[in-house]
């Protein structure tokens, strides 16, 4: 079965072809069946491949399947090849599994949209691109997938392009990602120049010999690659596109901007861990940027009022956690959080979509409230996801987040400051997520009276995916129960063969520190409970308290509400000077110099022509005279000078 791993991305591609070419000619129901069917098949193949991989002994779990040689030119060789190892196996399971559920949900959510076939074509194209990305066996193919998911993100953010905000948001996402991808492409070129190969396995094999630990070259390569990750995974300073990306349909936000595409950067760092291990500075930067992003965006999420934007900031914040995990050398923990986050954040978005569905696309949580009775399934599933992201013990988020926090404290590159910020972020996360839950489902109803009678639970095609994801959000964490809680951390063990390539076996966590680990765990749980308690006090017990606080700390509140004015600062410092420079080049250089020289030549020719035109009088005798003079001159020359 492992030989058929190429089928995993091939199935969604078939969906793209069918819906792309015939989507408008076949019935709507057929479009949905095709789109979901190919994802289901893809998930099935992923599962079978995964099962086969599990049958192999741990150190043999690497498989490379070459479909064809794509480029062979001089030293450059690139294959359309797939690399299957525990890391990519986990990724294809998450992408195709969560992707399948979101496709099914979309059938219900997008049911009314007139561009139904286009939606599913792009969604399938995204699934294909993402699976290509995670399965690629070399940097070039990886880059193709990387760019394709960016393209799909652009297309789907701007899905309702008649709305200017949506079109602008798509453009913003594309341009910001371009900045990151520029660095990423440079990184790939530097890898090729250094190693003469673009194959993952070859590069990782050569890396320890060719690069010294801490050398400038290793640092440059890894930093350039990380620039790409900053753009794709929305880290400081390139995170600004993700909140705006919420203009797209909600299932798109769930699939692309929460569960899969934005985690590509984390996957990339984990995939390139051999290189990152050679550049401690880059690793430290990854961890620092990750944690800074986690805290910074969590603080923005505290006061936002748009349910989807809160989720977006929360996603950025959780991605920060994953980068912190990778940055302190705990790649498995980062990937573990990636997986659990895919479950509960996809669920949060889909639940938010279900709320919007019930309220005729209302996204402002100030105009919600007391929806629990009306849409109970949405409420309970969202409550589970909220508890999971807040880190309530027993749910998936608790295990993965605590693993990262513990590694941030005690890991090979850990630092207590990272842990401290991480715990603070956990408290903020718990607060703002429960704020959303309370304001949306509990308390008094602030729904527009006209809408009240309209509120209804979503159809089963939407609620069943919610329930499955809720189940996964609960049990997903039990794959990686840490040893200190009596588990075996099977997830980490499964990924271990990948992350032990190229350097010594990871140092087992200091066993004397069991008490410490339990203590830190207790602190982070306490932080989460404090966050929930404060949210309860603010939004259930004393709903006027937040307003009084906002007035009291007006300045801080407005700064947070306006997202620290980061967009405005970028606008002033980067976008506007750039625009002015472009306008100068347009009006100064293009119009005056380029157009001027072209027009100048044309004018010169015209002027010369207007002079020469006088020669042509139209009088026959003038011409005759000219002919005569010419004849005389020629004859005279022949007769007398030769």
């Amino acid at each position: 079965m492992i030989d058929y791993v190429w089928l995993v991305p091939a199935f969604p591609l078939i969906g793209v072809l069918i819906n792309g070419f015939f989507g408008r000619r076949i019935r709507r129901a057929a479009v949905g069946w095709v789109a979901c069917g190919v994802m289901g098949l893809s998930f099935l193949v992923s599962s079978l491949v995964f099962w086969d991989l599990l049958q192999l002994p741990p150190d043999k779990r690497v498989f490379k399947g070459v479909v064809f040689t794509w480029i062979a030119s001089g030293d450059l060789r690139a294959e359309a090849g797939f690399l299957l190892d525990p890391l990519s196996a986990v990724m294809i399971l998450v992408v195709s599994g969560v992707g399948f559920l979101i496709h099914v949900y979309s059938v219900g959510y997008m049911g009314e949209d007139r561009d139904y076939p286009r939606y599913f074509t792009h969604l399938n194209l995204f699934a294909f691109s993402m699976l290509l990305l995670v399965l690629a066996s070399n940097y070039l193919l990886f880059f193709v997938g990387w760019e394709l998911v960016g393209l799909c993100s652009y297309l789907l953010i701007g899905f309702w392009f008649e709305r200017k905000t949506a079109a602008d948001a798509g453009k913003k996402a594309f341009v910001v990602n371009r900045i990151g991808d520029f660095g990423f492409a440079l990184g790939i070129m530097l890898i090729f120049v250094t190693f003469g190969s673009l194959d993952f396995q070859e590069v990782f094999r050569m890396a320890p010999e060719k690069l010294q630990v801490g050398s400038a070259l290793a640092t440059a390569i890894t930093l350039l690659l990380f620039t790409g990750a900053m753009g794709k995974s929305a880290q400081i300073p390139l995170y600004v596109w993700l909140p705006d990306a919420m203009e797209g349909p909600t299932p798109v936000s769930a699939l692309i901007h929460a569960a899969t595409m934005v985690t590509a950067g984390v996957y990339m760092v984990a995939r390139n861990h051999v290189l990152y291990e050679l550049a401690p500075f880059s690793l430290a930067l990854v961890a620092a940027v990750g944690m800074a992003t986690a805290f910074f965006t969590a603080s923005i999420a505290l006061v936002q009022n748009d349910i989807k934007r809160i989720m977006a900031y929360s996603t950025i914040s959780q991605l920060g956690y994953m980068f912190t995990g990778a940055g302190v050398g705990a790649y498995a923990a980062g990937i573990f959080h990636l997986m659990t986050h895919a479950f509960f954040k996809a669920l949060l978005f889909l639940a938010a979509g279900s709320v919007m569905h019930a309220l005729a696309n209302e996204t402002d949580i100030r105009r919600m409230g007391a929806l629990k009775e009306h849409i109970p399934i949405t409420f309970w599933t969202m409550a589970i996801a909220t508890a999971a992201i807040a880190g309530i013990p027993g749910l998936s988020g608790f295990f993965s987040k605590d693993e990262i926090l513990w590694q941030a404290y005690s890991g090979r590159h850990g630092h207590y400051l990272l842990w401290l910020l991480g715990v603070a972020t956990a408290a903020l996360t718990a607060f703002y997520m429960f704020r959303v839950l309370f304001l949306t489902f509990l308390g008094e109803s602030r729904v527009d009276p006209h809408l009240r009678h309209h509120i209804h639970e979503s159809p089963p095609i939407m609620t069943v995916p919610l329930m499955i994801l809720a189940f996964l959000s609960i049990v997903g964490g039990y794959l990686g129960v840490p040893e200190v809680l009596g588990g075996a951390n099977r997830f980490q063990e499964f990924l271990a063969p990948v992350f032990e390539v190229g350097h010594a076996k990871a140092i087992p966590s200091p066993h004397g520190a069991v008490g410490l680990e339990l203590g830190l765990m207790g602190v982070s749980v306490a932080a989460a409970l404090v966050g929930i308690g404060v949210a309860y006090r603010f939004y259930i017990q004393d709903p006027s308290l937040p307003h009084r606080l906002a007035e009291r700390f007006q300045r801080a509140y407005t700064a947070l509400l306006n997202k620290y004015y980061v967009d405005e600062i970028y606008e002033t410092l980067i976008v506007n000077p750039f625009k002015r420079g472009s306008v100068f080049l347009w009006e100064g250089f293009d119009v005056k110099v380029v157009d001027g020289s072209v027009n100048g030549v044309a004018y010169l020719v015209e002027w010369g022509g207007s002079l020469l035109r006088k020669v042509q009088t139209g009088y026959v005798f003038n011409y005759v005279l000219a002919i005569l003079a010419g004849a005389v001159a020629i004859v005279g020359y022949m007769a007398f000078w030769r």
Binding site: R613, G618, F621
Partner: protein, 100 residues
């Protein structure tokens, strides 16, 4: 026997007459006739050379020239008639349409 130079002098004289006619006259019909005169001056030279060099080539070329001249007369007169119908004149000083 009349020497070759006599024929050539006559031919040159006729040709020069034609050139002067084309260059100086204003009536388009006169110009046309002058052109015919130049052609026939050349024909005379051809025939004279043919006679003195004992080659029939000159005679053949004269036949060609006369054929072409006949065709040219047909086309030329047609153009002149068309012009006259439009402009009511045969004075080339008033016919200067062929310019930009």
């Amino acid at each position: 026997m009349v020497p070759l130079s006599a024929y050539l002098i006559l031919s040159a004289f006729l040709f020069a007459t034609g050139v002067v006619g084309v260059a100086t006259r204003r009536n388009v019909l006169i110009i046309f006739m002058s052109i015919e005169l130049m052609l026939n001056a050349v024909n005379l030279a051809f025939v004279a050379f043919s006679r003195f060099l004992h080659s029939m080539d000159g005679q053949i070329i004269v036949l060609f020239v006369m054929t072409v001249a006949a065709a040219e007369v047909a086309v030329g007169l047609a153009i002149i008639i068309a012009l006259f119908r439009n402009k009511e004149t045969v004075d080339v000083a008033e016919i200067n349409l062929m310019k930009w």
